[in-house]
């Protein structure tokens, strides 16, 4: 079991109801996609936040990554909608 910091932004944050949390990562979770699948089982608020995983953007340690990226060694994983800055 590894401790992992999760951060949520914009409507992902609003739907889950928190901006960040620390979790104990189950050992069978290898990729970002695995993590998203597991998070969706944690309650209706997570299910709602991640109902369309293809629109969810992810950063590992503040770098954009695709969903198939392994999360081994990650300290912080962030989930958010497509960016709308500028």
């Amino acid at each position: 079991m590894t401790e992992l910091n999760l951060r949520y932004f914009a409507w992902v944050r609003e739907r889950i109801g928190t901006a960040h949390e620390s979790i104990e990562l189950p050992g069978d979770i290898a990729t970002v996609a695995d993590l998203l699948g597991w998070l969706k089982t944690r309650g209706p608020e997570y299910e709602h936040a991640f109902e369309q995983t293809d629109v969810i953007r992810t950063a590992i340690d503040q770098t954009h990554v695709p969903h198939e990226t392994p999360i081994a060694g990650a300290h912080e994983v962030a989930f958010f909608p497509p960016m709308t800055g500028g």
């Binding site: 950063a59 709308t84 500028g86």
Partner: protein
Amino acid sequence: MATVRVQTEPFDVAAEVQALVSGRTDIGAVVTFTGLCRDEGGTLSALELEHYPGMAETEIIRVAAEAQQRWPLNGITAIHRYGKIMPGDAIVLVITASAHRTAAFEAAEFLMDYLKTRAPFWKKEHHADGSEGDWVEAKDADDAAAGRWREDM
């Protein structure tokens, strides 16, 4: 040679340009882009900009470095605000300086296109009638605009 800031405070375009060009005689072209909050025909009372602290700066610095590799630039300034922004107020500033105008124009457009699609900022609308607004949706047009700079195309 890039100045990158993420801040709540307004910025002073003239002062930023001055900081970039002052005392130099090798710059032939300065392009500034200022993005402002529109009131959408009076329906919007403010925009709330959320950002990912740390990553926002990192991504903008990365985009600025890429612009400097692609174009012969004398300097870049990129400032992005967060927090509550009122209609008419500025959200983002990009300045590019180069010996030649084409490089300055192209680099400024590139920076804006990449800022919009890579920098972790999100806009929430506040409605003028007091009702809760929605998060602004990302536009396919912005992805297309960023895509035109791909070097493998």
